[in-house]
Symmetry: C2
Subunit: 113 residues, 2 copies
DNA sequence: TGCATATATGAAGATATAGTCATATACTCA
DNA sequence: TGAGTATATGACTATATCTTCATATATGCA
């Protein structure tokens, strides 16, 4: 990262921003291992149809997901395995943090007794 | 990621959002391998003092950086190696993408001649 | 060809956020 | 103790963004 230009960091910001929203993260969770249609993603995320469409446009623009059309259906999928690796790395890190925070809290509570 | 709750994804969003801004990425680039004072970070990033202070507060709140005080100086550093791993992974991915896009463009231009 | 379904887009409103300016706070030192 | 320096914070403005509602577009099928 130290060698990256400001322009490249701007692209990194766009990329990260595309995933830095709870609704879009739910979309990516739904798409984690397989492609799905807009309707399926709606069901799994609970997002409204037009809201979902806008978020999918953002993720597509950032090359996080891509799509193919089949009749009236549009099938979305994670754009490439790199994205999945990044998502898994970040999510594991945060999940570990939360778990560790809970453990610490329990230990503090135990010490009080 | 598939097993994560909505609450955890909300935390992931906060974490990603904290880094999804060009100014904060410049801060993280400055801090990549070593701790630095606010003044040093100002010099390296070009950010205004109060703007920098606010961004450092966001990064601290998201546990991306942490600090120690030494007299009037506040020394900031990346909070833990996990953060560096994530940053490097994401930056490498985007840099590769940009490099690949440039290569493709050159090949297209060669074919036109 | 018209209806039904799936999806994309424009407009509007509410909320979030980045940067600047001014000021407050903390610390050091002569 | 006051001046100087480093840093944090409040207030304000402009811009970005999320969600909803209404509507447009694309496709398939009877």
């Amino acid at each position: 990262m130290k060698t990256l230009s400001n322009e490249t960091l701007d692209q990194v910001a766009v990329f990260l921003k595309s995933m830095a929203e709870p609704t879009r993260l739910r979309i990516l969770r739904a798409l984690h291992d397989e492609e799905k249609t807009v309707s399926q993603i709606m069901e799994e995320t609970g997002a409204g149809q037009s809201n979902l469409s806008k978020h999918l446009a953002i993720l597509t623009g950032a090359h996080v997901v891509r799509f193919r059309k089949n009749g009236t259906f549009t099938h979305y999928r994670i754009a490439d395995p790199n994205i999945t690796v990044i998502l898994d790395t970040v999510c594991r890190s945060i999940a570990d943090r939360i778990r560790q925070a809970r453990t610490t809290l329990k230990e503090i509570e135990r010490e009080r007794r």
